[in-house]
Symmetry: C2
Subunit: 216 residues, 2 copies
């Protein structure tokens, strides 16, 4: 089942080398802050190769997002399938299904959340729309439905807001907002990723299950 070629990646094609180099650079320096020259130099390919394999710098970013967003959200769907099959709609387990596929990414792609962060807040509307409609919206809707079964006391819009609060927490710790480094210092390195994930789920599950109204 496990192909050894996935990890060691021998005999990588020019196209893949471009994708890998560009992905890291875009995550770190942003689209406008990354030149094709940086990418081709880092990937050890010729400058013209980008416009040959992709058609433009923008189409390259497009391809990068599709390559990552597809597998992550398919995995989320699988985990949701299992929850629905079992009939056990528990908030913690549903949230786990959302965050686990990202936490399970290898450390060698630890920059992917930063890339997604840019998509959420920084990239152009068109870029966001393409990726969101294709990969994220169906997943988000299904999570909303599952969570309402787990916490039926909330209206649909109330739940949608709380899901957004959860996504904010999740995105923040995944993208490693620089604040984390300054506030938590060495603590962060010491905390195994698994513990961070459990802390996040604990926090968000309590928030999502909070009673409905503020005033009696």
């Amino acid at each position: 089942m496990i192909e050894t070629t996935v990890l060691s990646a021998p005999a990588q094609t020019t196209k893949d080398r471009i994708l890998d180099a560009a992905e890291l650079l875009f995550a770190d320096r942003g689209f406008d802050g990354t030149s094709l020259r940086m990418i081709t130099s880092e990937a050890n390919v010729n400058l013209a190769a980008v416009n040959y394999h992709f058609q433009s710098k923008e189409a390259l970013l497009h391809a990068i997002y599709d390559r990552r967003a597809g597998p992550i959200n398919r995995r989320r769907m699988e985990l949701l399938d299992a929850i629905e099959a079992s009939g056990e709609f528990v908030v913690e387990r549903i949230l786990d299904a959302f965050v686990r596929p990202v936490f399970e990414l290898g450390v060698e792609v630890g920059h992917v959340p930063r890339l997604m962060m840019r998509l959420l807040y920084v990239e152009t509307e068109g870029m966001f729309q393409h990726v969101f409609e294709r990969h994220f919206r169906p997943v988000l809707l299904r999570f909303g439905v599952a969570l309402r079964r787990a916490a039926p006391h909330l209206s649909e819009q109330e739940m949608m807001w709380r899901v957004q609060f959860f996504i904010g927490s999740f995105a923040h710790v995944m993208a490693g907002g620089r604040v984390l480094k300054f506030v938590l210092k060495d603590e962060r390195e010491a905390s195994p990723r698994d513990l961070i994930m459990r802390r996040l789920i604990r926090f968000a599950a309590a928030g999502i299950q909070a009673p409905k109204e503020i005033e009696a």
Copy 2:
């Protein structure tokens, strides 16, 4: 007490016009995506004026962050002073002191949270460090202390993590992550800002006050 010049802003100086135009452009298109020519054109000032009043494009962004981060965090400190004076350490009230100064910003500066978002995740380390050390770190530390008095069952590091989850939720809804528009649709326009703030505080207060351990 209230100066009418604050709102109508008559006879704005060249320097201020540059600050205003650049702030909006940087928030929308990012530092690399904004040229000095866009800024001076939008501000109706000469191209050379930027390098005269500030010294470089980077120093201009510096000035922009200082102009906003100062007042917001001073207001937070005031609200914290009031809490400490009253001796009523209630999680909801402490969280309110953190978010209120931002929610109270006029709609005409609704782009400021987006600008802060870029600082958190996108700008250079140097830019972040300058602003964080000067404006945010002292505030964050005080909030951590106050929250631990309100929820003493948590260790310092546990609380720091939960504060980070809260900040993620807050930043996400303030920056209006594009997801909000797509998921919540018209609902967002209809929800008064005050209601959003209360929902956020309700969610985060429950999360922060969640019991300590996952397993017994």
